[in-house]
Symmetry: C2
Subunit: 338 residues, 2 copies
Amino acid sequence: MEKIINRQWVLTSRPHGAATKENFELREVPVAEPRDGEVLIKTIYLSVDPYMRGRMNAGHSYAEPAQTGEVMLGRAVGKIVQSNSEGFEKGDVVVCGNGWQTYAIAKAESLRKLDLPPELLPAALGVLGMPGLTAWYGLLEIGKPKSGETVVVSGAAGAVGSVVGQIAKIHGCRTVGIAGTDEKVRWLTEELGFDAGLNYRTSPDLGAGVAAACPDGVDVYFDNVGGEVSASVLRSLNTFGRIAVCGQISTYDLDTPEPTEAILPLLLTRRALARGFIVGDHAEHFAKALGELRGWVEGGRLKHRETIIDGIEHAPEAFLGLFRGDNIGKQLVRVAEV
Amino acid sequence: MEKIINRQWVLTSRPHGAATKENFELREVPVAEPRDGEVLIKTIYLSVDPYMRGRMNAGHSYAEPAQTGEVMLGRAVGKIVQSNSEGFEKGDVVVCGNGWQTYAIAKAESLRKLDLPPELLPAALGVLGMPGLTAWYGLLEIGKPKSGETVVVSGAAGAVGSVVGQIAKIHGCRTVGIAGTDEKVRWLTEELGFDAGLNYRTSPDLGAGVAAACPDGVDVYFDNVGGEVSASVLRSLNTFGRIAVCGQISTYDLDTPEPTEAILPLLLTRRALARGFIVGDHAEHFAKALGELRGWVEGGRLKHRETIIDGIEHAPEAFLGLFRGDNIGKQLVRVAEV
């Protein structure tokens, strides 16, 4: 086999405050041969996600910290180019953990074969992948919304939030999304069926906006953002309210999150629940959840959108854009044609 | 029947900041006659509890606000002096909602007859009453401690906290209590069997103290206090930690609780749960819980202590002392001899 060059983004330094392109370096290395039970996978689509910011820090996060000099980890859709495993053949398309690089060697047992048509492959990293599972688990297993209740989601136009709101609608809830541009808010209300949307950047008083959009209060808050946005929502939290803490993107660039309105007294007076989670801890739900998600997608009840940047060389840019809110729906990098 | 005079404490004004004696007035009124299905009850022991501070405010709390001019509500142990109900006889001893007064008329269905020996009657408002049930429910149903885990409780020498720590020990946990005097800390560790105690008033660095007392981190935090004490504990919270939010006494005198270290990011990175509760919502557990509590008390595994002030005229003083930490164990007012 001819020698294949692997282009890979490595973490070269840890950020202080916001991450920048200078924290990464594009390196070229030769690809090794897969051993017994391994396969060589060419990256097709690479997922960039806010949680990866945590990996760039040395400290406590739920994501394993990346070491400087190491390739940035991450999920991807890839195509097998060489197989030393009986279960896989050249040409198979899989979900894998290739990370920010054009090729990777993986153990067969870490892969999931995809039976999706080419146009749905990006969705395997979005609505039919971890973000969709995250929305499903956090909303249904922590939020436990009942028909007629009100669900508010922050980061509503993102990969997770956009699914949360639509599942809430499917479950008969009033659904309010908070996002950062008028274009996103229009997408939520005009295309995805959210009952109301709020632009946190232009709202003169987000707390009053939430209260007006939720005349019966907030029963479930699915939080991707934290900080002031969350404080504004929580003032309207109902008795027995539930808070699914999925992300805190407003805090990821801070050494220490800003002090906020105290939440424990609010949990007490509202007899409310808050729970942080990472969906990987709940794999026992995946089969059921994926089945439901796919059924809703195929039935036209669950829409999805991907923002795709072409070229591995633009991976850091795609990642950094998440923190500016550049993406609508799932942010991906297309590394190669299918 | 001769005319009986009822002495009752009414709320005359709402506090700004700390409550004072001047918010209450002792009034004398004649006692009415019980109607069909009602009984007249003489108050023996009156319970004063931190949650009553919430009743003094007009705003949102989990306790129904008292109106100015109204008698302060509260649970009590009383003796029936006149019965118009078939289920009760003169001389029966009951748990009732007499509130801060020497007599009250009640409907029979609101009462629970007590079969305790006289020396255990105070415990009916403590370890064998709402505080005990609160400790049981919050620790076992929210905290769900497993043998070998570490449980930290704030307000540990209070009516609820002292029971929490002992139940945690019965369940095989390392148990650390936080209290406000060295005498209380000694009581916890030398008499109740806590593994360690910390005096938050004298500790130079409570966070470091908690970390040292909890070498394996904190799995369950039972919070009666909030504010800086809780922030200090939560820095040591383990992955999959549970926070039972039972009280926030440090905040009750504040119009708005002080901003604190942001808790949502902590819940996220630790994949942790926090839930506020009030035990009255969970009556389906009471029979089982009371059975366990009584069995532990009678078996000598669960100790209890009451701080008792004599005389209805001292009810406000007993109540206000809770906020200074005057009490060890359950604070009661003895209004009459049994």
